[in-house]
Symmetry: C2
Subunit: 119 residues, 2 copies
DNA sequence: TCCATATATGAATAGGTATTCAAGCGTTAA
DNA sequence: TTAACGCTTGAATACCTATTCATATATGGA
């Protein structure tokens, strides 16, 4: 059986056309998927949720998540590269905080969803 | 070098304590991480973005994403299990649509973030 | 009944990734 | 300079997962 193509080429052409029309740009979708993927890892999500309260150094986060500085540092690097967190160096320590964009709003909306869903 | 524990046990105790206090329940965090992970896969994210427009059958989605019904069906199963989409059977076809909860709001907020960030 | 179609599913494979371990860098204080 | 500390980094391993392929189920029509 050929699964590559449906026999009826497009079953609901108007719908598909309309959906394609209002589809965001590919770059936007990929950007969004990247952020979601980063937040989809429990350790990283916990880091982000922790940083809502105040800026923290790597050791603080390692204590929060019961993890190692190395593991946390690896995760922070990914978050930093994608612009979800920013860092500030002070002596031997590096303080991390949430980036000053709408990530926080996104997180709040996500939490709202998760809490609503539990009920 | 011992990386397990920081020498200074908690460098910013007040901050860590405050963050722990306002940390959501573990179940909520895991729920949220699951949703983010599902949305973090470009194919699945495209499915969700497509379904904002109108309900679609598997073939429609396969056409939208230039994929196979089998691959789409596998993804839809994951989205269905986690309650992000719902399905309705009509004859040989199965129509999928976004679940009637705040996922749509979440997606909008995400898009808002991604678009803002590009600029 | 028999066949074609739309979808679902299980197993296998290939690709991706989180953590660990070991080592390195940069800063501070002696 | 030396040592200690906080952090970073690269490689390796072990785990996870998306897609493919083959097959199965279910519905509708001849």
């Amino acid at each position: 059986m050929n699964q590559e193509i449906c026999q009826v080429n497009l079953i609901h052409e108007e719908c598909v056309a309309a959906a394609q029309q209002q589809m965001p740009q590919l770059a936007t979708i990929e950007q969004l998927a990247t952020v979601y993927k980063l937040l989809g890892e429990p350790s990283r999500l916990k880091i982000m949720l922790s940083l809502r309260t105040c800026e923290m150094c790597v050791c603080d986060l390692a204590a929060m998540l019961d993890s190692t500085p190395s593991a946390i540092s690896h995760q922070l690097k990914l978050l930093r590269i994608s612009g979800l967190v920013q860092s500030r160096k002070k002596g031997k320590m590096v303080y991390y905080s949430l980036a000053k964009n709408s990530v926080q709003q996104m997180l709040l909306e996500g939490l709202n969803y998760a809490v609503e869903k539990k009920a």
